[in-house]
């Protein structure tokens, strides 16, 4: 099996994650899809690390995880705040900028 299969898998997962962001309305699900995209890119980084024979890719992946964790913390806090004021986790309801 060719190593690049991991990369193809990464592309597929990334695309699915992006699609999820675009078509789901629940903010939490959207968040999970973002995580999916980040994970897909992590997979690519790990694979690149293996292809190049050094650990830089893995370190980058590690940083990505940390940033993703930060993002989740803040993002979920925002969702909670929005939910508290609007009783809804749908991103379409937060459209005050409309018109």
């Amino acid at each position: 099996m060719d190593i690049s299969n991991y990369l193809y898998l990464s592309i597929i997962l990334f695309t699915i994650g992006a699609l999820g962001v675009l078509i789901r309305r629940n903010a939490i699900v959207i968040f999970m899809c973002i995580e999916l995209m980040l994970n897909a890119s992590n997979l690519a980084l790990v694979t690149f690390s293996r292809i190049h024979g050094n650990l830089d890719g893995q370190v980058a992946s590690f940083f990505t995880m940390v940033v993703a964790a930060c993002e989740v913390v803040v993002g979920l806090a925002i969702i909670v705040t929005i939910y508290r004021s609007r009783r809804s986790a749908s991103v379409d309801d937060a459209s005050l900028l409309k018109n």
Binding site: V21, L22, I23, R25, V91, A94, S95, L97, K98, N99
Partner: protein, 629 residues
Amino acid sequence: MRTSSHLVYLIALPLFSSAILLLLGRMADKWGHIFATLISASAFGVGVFEFMAMHSHTGANRAATQKLFEWISVGNLKVDASLLLDQLSICFVLLITGVGTLIHIYSIAYMDHDKDRRRFFAYLNFFIAAMLLLVLGNSYLNLYVGWEGVGLASYLLIGFWNHNQTYAVAAKKAFIANRIGDVGLSLAIMICFTQFGAVSFDGVKAGASHASPAALTAIGAMLLLAAAGKSAQFPLQSWLGDAMAGPTPVSALIHAATMVTAGVYLITRSNFIFDASSTARILVVTVGVITLLFGAIVGTAKDDIKKALAASTMSQIGYMILATGLGPVGYAFAIMHLLTHGFFKAGMFLGAGSVMHGMDDEINMRKYGGLAKLMPITAVTFGLGYLAILGVPPFAGFYSKDKIIETAFNQGGGKGIILGGAALLGAGITAFYMTRVVVLTFAGAKRWKDGSHPHESSVLMWGPMVVLAIGSIASGFLLSAGGALVNWLQPVVNASHAEGGKELMKPLVVSVLALGIVALGAGYAIIKYRTVPEVAPEKVSIFTKIARKDLYQDIFNDAVLVKPGTALTAGLVATDHHVIDGAVRLVGWVIGEVSDVLRKLQNGYVRSYALMMFVGVFIGALILWVVTA
């Protein structure tokens, strides 16, 4: 040259009074006219005082100046607001304040029934102030301020009854015609500055002695244009007839005695320019001759008493302009005719006002007739003015007008004969139309309706008329006795080298000729107007028709100036509206339409924005894909 500290009062007094009357408003209604008249009289007093002071001095010390303040100091251009009272100015000062005061007195009674009498007097005082500034300024720029001031006063007073549409239009017409002349004056001032670096009379005089003929001719032509605008000379003459829309005292003061003669003053004051440029002089005499005949011909066909007198004014100023174009010797005669004309024409206008006052503001002479018995004082004073304008000795016009005709003949050669002949012909026509006015108004059978009750006016009105009539009798003799005025003005107009040698005709011959022609014209008028139809007859000669139409002056102006101007303006407005505004609107419209489309993208849904980002990424990848292919 001495300095005087009183000159400013001449201007300040009426200006102050005008401001007081306008600012106090209705509070001054009760006493405003008295106050204005007293102020005008006190200005006359200052004038007389200054005249005495001048008389007591000799030589160069006769002229007096007063520097008010440094007005403009920009680079090379330094202009002081200074006043100059010399032998020429004092003539005007006395005329303006003297006749002005008489007309103030007259107006008290004439405007008695007008609720805006105070405003009228405020404007009159403003006019006096502006006119005095005009004749007292020591530079063209100071003169210009007064020049515009009298234009404004004239506008305000012609349109005094501006609730009447025709009167308001007449005021605008006068204002616009004057503006064209004013452009000439401002151009003349600018040329003076560029050529001589000065705009004061002294500075320009000094520069004129070694200036190029072309520049002098240009300045002269521009000054003539200015004079034509202000003095209703050809080709800017059309406004004066309509200016009769103003109250009759205004016609007497502004449009007969003083303001319209400002052009004569301007040319006389600029004698150093015209002396140095024969081309400019020829232009001046041409304009003068055309206007004197033009005015006279128009005067023969007018049934409106004031318009007939206005045409006469135009013609008489034509004489003055002609005289100013005749060289140094002519200036004095121009000023003499100006002064005598100021008396007799103002007197006749006041007489006309008195007639109108008695006839319920009827202005059509064909509806007068036989008024001499009912208004004896008016008839006599008017008659004296009539004799003066005809040039019958020993009345004022005889001394002034015959001198002009004589000087015209003395120009020598064909030019002298043409100018003299035209002036002589003008005198004949003048006799005809003035006789017509007198006959139609005071002689013959009554043609007015039984409803009106002609009566003699009050003493406030006939008093000034009597004073002016006395002036009409005596002023000519007094001014010319022993060459009084000629000698008096000599320092200003520099007439020492008058070419008196080559006389074409003896003065006596000229006088006899003139009197003969005058008698002819007057006699023809008397015969022609033994019976007068109440309505102007339709079947008249082609010449009468043309004259009734003011020699087509309005039609000419309309066709040559107004219509193309209006078309040009309309074109510009349309261009502005469709092309320039259209371009602006197009930009706005395009942005608006594009925004309308793009606005839909801004729907407020974060997922839509995410899709846009994603499509952007897609396009980026696509480009990468294409580039790396």
